[in-house]
């Protein structure tokens, strides 16, 4: 399985993971549950 990045939404508390992007570019983070951008990369 591809490596994952873990995220936590600091608005609704939702935790989710996404496959690590191939390039080290920074993507806009949006919580899939509440659409907030207060998303912290964790772990």
């Amino acid at each position: 399985m591809a490596e994952q990045d873990n995220f936590k939404c600091l608005r609704c508390g939702n935790e989710y993971s996404l496959p690590k992007p191939e390039k080290a570019t920074m993507e806009e983070r949006t919580c899939p549950k509440c659409r907030s951008n207060s998303v912290r990369k964790v772990g």
Binding site: L10, R11, M26, E27, E28, S36, N37, S38, V39, R40
Partner: protein, 607 residues
């Protein structure tokens, strides 16, 4: 069209696309890719000999696929420039051994397969964006049978069928059997005013276009029976109601109600249309020779790269956002860039022309001035404080900071756009921004929580997007709780972690940092620095035993008034959950932390 082609001051660049835009109002530098035409447009006499010998045939885009053209072709009879062009994807071979018949045939030797794409650099003072729109593709609305039934056509296809320059040379026929249709239906709002498919907005032109079509038909073929199926008829412009009246007087039938289903009679290829006539309150069935789908307009599918190159925003419907909906309707959000035509919203020819002339008046105002003053919001570096670490040069999106190891950094003022990211990044307090100084912003931060701090939210908003989104919420009268105190910065990248920490130290329950979406950043990518800074602050807060949730981050575009109001409502709920003990603890640890940092800094300064 011809006038534009031969005007001595207009340089026409066809088959060309803007690839890159740099610079600023009055001084843009633009890279344009001129694609190879393979035909010398100055020499070509449009005799057509080349097309006669071209062995391949393709659908003709101009006739929306209803006619054919060769791989070497002229787009349409009155094309400007009046020159043939080779579509390299259709051509059998740029290798003359493979084909090359056209080049052989051309007496003037205008055809050259070795012509290459060319990158042209232009310097201009103002830019007018008039890239237009797409028409809605009704294939997904399967109930109307477009692409399943030959005699269901779009309004654009109808234009070609009735046009003297069309594939049938003006002999109006239906595609199925090439006979003249005598009973024709028009369906309005195809792709417009729909919530689930197509677009939710009114496309502005379709009612009038159908009225026009009905009059054309009645004029050329008075025996045609015409049925227009509509929701509302919007004939609101000058002279429009007269046309509608003429159309009704000519015997065109207007039926309020959109077809529920369209079937084809396999024998006759006629269309059986079921519709609820909501005026009469009954179900009706029509047997029609042809059905025209009056398709709406939508933003160009290929518009985003140019929009981003020009740093423009779009409204929620995808059309480009104007600087102000009433007072600056043709100015784009980037100074020196103006909008004309359907790229801004669906409109008819008259409105497009009106808007173009207005955009010209605005652009001309810039072009006729000898000099422009640029806002004095730029960075300055205190050489005494600078440790030559180079952190500022790394985050500058414009490369406007000159820095070498061991020498203090220097700002190239002409290149600095004033986002302030460098000032926020500098750990040594050596960089300041004119008009958005540390002192001024810190004073504003402290002032925001000077009274009843526990009831306040300190919200930083960038000038271009999130602050503008807040203005949009106001214009739309979207209501939200009055607890936030907003501090405007030019860019979210300007928000120094010290401002955020200071707000918390003075008792703020919640701090919000907000800026443009990544794709919309007005300072190329300065808001990535915002994200990194907020990430660091979350770590720091956590380490200090402060809930990182109390620092919120949002990307809100100028068009997202709705999102601005929602964010305000949600973070107010979060504020209410922050306890007095929590705030007290925060104040205590941040005071201690600041004391530690200051003594560290002092110790360093002594060394």
């Amino acid at each position: 069209m011809m006038d534009a082609g031969r005007h001595p001051r207009i340089e026409l660049m066809t088959l060309s696309e803007v690839e890159e835009v740099n610079g600023y109002i009055g001084n843009f530098k633009v890279k344009v890719r001129k694609k190879a035409r393979y035909v010398d447009e100055k020499e070509c006499t449009a005799c057509g000999d080349c097309a006669d010998v071209c062995p391949v045939t393709y659908p003709d885009e101009y006739q929306v696929g209803l006619g054919t053209r060769k791989a070497v072709y002229i787009p349409f009879a009155q094309a400007v420039p009046s020159s043939y062009v080779i579509n390299p994807e259709n051509c059998l071979g740029s290798n003359p051994i493979a084909c090359g018949k056209c080049a052989e045939r051309c007496e003037k030797k205008c055809i050259d397969f070795d012509i290459q794409d060319e990158i042209v650099e232009l310097e201009v003072g103002a830019i007018i964006v008039a890239t237009g729109m797409d028409t809605y593709d009704p294939t997904e609305m399967d109930e109307y049978g477009y692409t399943r039934f030959q005699n269901v056509v779009t309004s654009l296809e109808f234009e070609r069928l009735i046009c003297a320059g069309g594939p049938t040379e003006g002999h109006f026929v239906r595609p199925g059997d090439m006979n003249r249709p005598k009973r024709i239906g028009f369906v309005q709002c195809v792709g417009s005013r729909m919530e689930n498919r197509g677009n939710p907005y009114c496309s502005n032109i379709c009612c009038m276009n159908t009225i026009k079509d009905s009059l054309l038909l009645k004029e050329h073929y008075p025996d045609t029976e015409i049925f227009v199926f509509y929701i509302d008829l919007r004939a609101f412009g000058k002279g429009f109601e007269d046309l509608l009246k003429r159309s009704r007087e000519a015997g065109v039938n207007y039926i309020r109600g959109l077809p529920g289903s369209v079937m084809e009679d396999p024998e006759t290829e006629n269309l059986i249309v079921d519709v609820e006539n909501t005026t009469a309150g009954r179900l009706e069935q029509y047997n029609l020779d042809m059905l025209v789908l009056s398709v709406g307009l939508e933003p160009r599918g290929d518009g985003d790269p140019l929009r981003q190159a020009l740093n423009l925003s779009k409204t929620s419907d995808g059309f480009l956002l104007e600087a102000h909906p009433k007072l600056r309707p043709v100015d784009a959000s980037t100074p020196g860039v103006f909008l004309a035509g359907c790229v801004e919203s669906p409109k008819d020819v008259k409105d497009s022309v009106t808007q173009a002339s207005a955009a010209v008046a605005r652009a001309s105002h810039i072009l006729t001035s000898d000099k422009l003053t640029v806002e004095a919001i730029t960075a300055t570096i205190d050489k005494e404080k600078c440790t030559a670490c180079g952190a500022c040069a790394k985050v500058c999106p414009y490369g406007a900071i000159r820095w070498e190891k061991k020498t203090p950094a220097e700002v190239i003022e002409a290149m600095c756009a004033g986002c302030g990211t460098c000032a926020a990044e500098c750990k040594f307090d050596a960089i300041n921004i004119k008009h958005f100084s540390d002192e001024a912003l810190m004073a504003q931060t402290e002032s925001a929580v000077a009274e009843n701090a526990s009831e306040r939210i300190v919200a930083f908003a960038c000038n271009w997007c999130s602050y503008a989104g807040g203005d949009g919420a106001g214009t739309s009268r979207l209501q939200y709780p009055p607890n936030a105190r907003i501090i405007r910065t030019m860019c979210s990248g300007r928000v120094d972690e010290r401002f955020v920490l200071r707000a918390f130290e003075l008792g703020a329950p919640i701090v919000l940092v907000s800026g443009c979406h990544f794709a919309d950043c007005h300072y190329i990518d300065a808001n990535r620095a915002t994200q990194r800074r907020v990430d660091k602050l979350w770590d720091k807060l956590e380490k200090l035993g402060i809930r990182p949730e109390r620092l919120q981050l949002e990307w809100i575009s100028a068009a997202e008034g709705q999102k601005f109001a929602t964010v305000m409502r949600e973070i107010e709920k979060m504020r209410q959950r922050v306890t007095a003990e929590e705030i007290e603890h925060t104040i205590k640890v941040l005071k201690e932390d600041r004391g530690k940092q200051e003594s560290k800094r002092k110790a360093k300064a002594k060394v």
